[in-house]
Amino acid sequence: MPIKPLKATQIYRHCDAKSFRFRSTAELPDLDGVLGQARAVEALSFGIGMEKDGYNLFVLGPRATGRHTIARSFLERRAEGEAAPDDWAYVNNFEAPHKPRALRLPAGRAGSLRQDMARLIEELLIAIPAAFQTDEYKTRREAIQEEFQERQETAFGAIQEEARKRDLALVRTPMGLALAPARGNEVMPPDEFHKLPELVRKKIEADIEELQGRLQEVAQKLPDWERERRRRIRELNREITGMALAQLIGRLRKSYAGLNQALDYIAAVERDIGEHVDLFLPPEAGQAEVPANMPAIAGAAPMGQSPAARQAAALRRYSVNVMVGDGNNGGAPVITEESPSYANLIGRVEHQAEMGALLTDFSMIKPGSLHRANGGYLIIDALRLLQQPYAWEALKRVLRGNSIRIESPGEMLSLVSTVSLEPEPIPLDVKVVLIGERQIYYLLCQRDPDFDDLFKVAVDFDENMERGGSVSQFARLIATMARRHELRPLNPGGVARVVEQATRLAGDVKKLSLQIGHIADLLKEADYWAAEKNRTVIGAEDVQTALDAQVRRVDRLSHRMRESIVQQTILIDTDGAKVGQINGLAVLDLGNFAFGKPSRISARVRIGNGEVIDIERRVDLGGPLHSKGVLILSGYLGARYAADHPLSLSASLVFEQSYGGVDGDSASSAELYVLLSALAELPINQGLAVTGSVNQHGEVQAIGGVNEKIEGFFDLCQARGLTGQQGVLIPKANVPHLMLNRGVVKAVRAGRFAVYAVASIDQGMELLTGRKAGRLGRNGRYPANSVNRLVQDRIHELADMRRRFARGGRNDSNNGSNNSKQGGENGS
């Protein structure tokens, strides 16, 4: 019984707008929960609630399924009910400045500590200089200075006096002092000295030696005296500073009572201010002693900074670098890291160039997203993370160690050995949510042994949902999206058209696509077109306009290709019949747009050793799946037509005018048809195009992109003028996937184009050649004049030729090639 073309209702599943009981989506309530993602939602709830180590989440699924939005909204809902995490700040470690201390403070207190410290320093800049201006301080200080000056003068004065008595001069040298025999106020000339009697000289030398010893003793004491002087001045300063500090520090201590880390830090600050009180004194005072800095000679202020700027820089040692705490509005943080580089994740230590050197301190430590997400949740795109050097390793290290240690990649890899900061690690309590494609998830599972330990929860988002019974829910989803994106509401016709498009995206009439990103784009664009028409509600026409416009924006390539075919630059016949030539269908996927492209496939047959040559493969233009399909053909031919003798043909198959490579097995049925045509010398109807893969039993199997393939051939036929004899053969298994465009549906309904669903090669051959395929008789032969009989005969003929050739016959393979009548006759 001949195969009948599919009806229009079989190639497009309408959504009946009348089934909706609303006038516009404005009447529909927002959708509760997540539509069609029960598995993912369950996993999300589990992963978020599970508080043990390693239960981080990997959200996998295709793009535009709302993975980010859904995961984030779940996390935010959960985070709202959680306590805000503690604040963290880095402060100066006064004992070891290269190891900044991490301070943990209750939420909201880090910012206030920073402000309090800034206020303290501001007040001390007034209070300390005032304390040092008092008469009491000046008097006590002067007394210390004078005491030490007197001590030195007394010591040296005694030596000088003794030297004078012995006619020796105390001379100042560039580095110190020296004693020499004197004549009046000058040093005695050496020649004069040498003329002195030896006894006198000896006496002078002995005197010099003795006084030199005493001088040396005093000189050796100078550093000790200086140290002592400084110590006493420092003690005095500390005492005075302490008086200025006491009240201010006391107030601070009271504010942070009970917070031990803060109190320890305040105590350290108090000690350090006592040691560095000079930082709080007016800069001018410290410079009065430096002659080179006298105004007219200036230029001596290093680095071009004013004294006040230098003072401000020096006082930065008391600042508080808040890492986490600013802008915390309650609840646990949910952070999305859009650029998950190494530094953006774990933080970094910045440097400042100064006189050619790179300087840094604790105030230049910058937090990473792990700091900001500490005590909450961090969302990262897996692909972006893996694209960043060292970022994945750093994230694993941090999760394994449960603490954030800031170090540069250079330090991590031991490439840099210069002194740098080693900030105290901050304990980490975070739930990381990676979001990525399934392929990434499975690759990580397979290749990274740490992955399973650290990301134990897979949240698998489905791209489709069942259509039956869910359309009303889907309508609510559309209503929710329209409201969320501030779009016009949709009327039932508009909703129905969107549902149909969701089915088309799903590639299955029984399903709806959950790629809500694409649906949202469609709604936005339909809203635009509705606005253009001054409509207050989005209708089916607007949705269709949006869809058409989407295609029009990106179909330049398909248009050009079709143009080339119409102009016969690319040779594709759409009428007539040819032996060894068929129209195959391929899909070109450009990422955001896919379209069907007809391709001519041709076959030639000659005597040989049973090999079907895939020319695409030979020139490395064919992929492995395509080659697999071609090899199946050999199996099919051998088993069906040459089970009891060698398959003695050599066939070549080629995609004509194909320059960009072919892969997939969807052309294997077309290749088999054309091969059979070449063997049976039966012409194939060029008004038909074929898609479908085939197995060794001759069953036609489902393929992908069926809608695009049919539409591609339809567009070509339409461009040349539909004859009513044109159509496409598709696998029967693909019928549920048909959601063809309006043009095709209309032509099918009018009987000007046909879509045939075939289950076997025999069915296909009957359609393509108009001749019965024929069933195998008990005698092992097919009915006369059937397709299969012609093929069988030709294969036997080739086998005979080969046998004769092997016995030394004169027929050489060249003469027997290519459907040659002569060859055939010779073999008969």
């Binding site: 105390l170 020296a178 000339p189 030398e205 002087r229 001045i233 002659p291 007219a296």
Partner: protein, 275 residues
Amino acid sequence: MTATEASVKQRRILVAMDSNAESLAGLRRAATLASELRIELAGLFLEDINLLRMSELPGHEIILGSGSRKSTSRAEMEQQMRHRAAAARREVERLAQAFSLSWTFEVRRAGLDSALREAARSNELVCSALAPPPLPHAAARPRTSRRRAVYPHGPVRAPRPVLALYEGAEGGARVLELAQRAAQINHLPLEVLVPARAGAAGQKAVDEANRCLSEAGEPVTVRRLPQSEKALLNALAAARGQLLFLDAASQAATAERLASLRSAAKCDLLLVSRH
């Protein structure tokens, strides 16, 4: 002679330097003054004859700060002096270029104070950037070590003033004029010391000094001192000035007294000629 006429005659400031590192700081201060007065900058590097002699005599140099001994040969001492002289010459040249001044440089081997006195005879203004003689004490040690100290002279102190020694109207007016200008340039207070007898004669000297000073500028203090050497030296030590101006032709400016004054004042001396 009016102040303007005197200013025209002041054509050159001679800066006397020696091997001490502090000399270069004195040179810079003098260059500032020369720039303000638009007069020539003359560098005079004195190779102290006493140091050279000492290097050929028995004994060692005692290094302050460490107390270690160091013996220095004459050749070594001469080499050191040559290096210092070359550095001083470079600095004179650099400062002259920076301030667009004409300049000269000379190296002379002599006793410091006698050379200073002699220079004062032939130059309009002589600046002694020589190291103060012993006794050394904290303030006299190399400034680099003091700068590193946390509180070299206390965290709060008044700026060191410019000092002027007024010893009579003949040369005193010029001394006060220049001292006041130096104070204005460097935004420092001026302290005028007037050694004078008690009674009306002393008051007259103070009044004369006051008349020589202009109204404008930095704060000025005029102090009358007992007319004794000891009182003067004590006052100079207590004043802790940054520059000391005095009349090059006065009684005070003998070579011996110059040494005492340098020792007491511990700052640069500027000998002002009466030309």
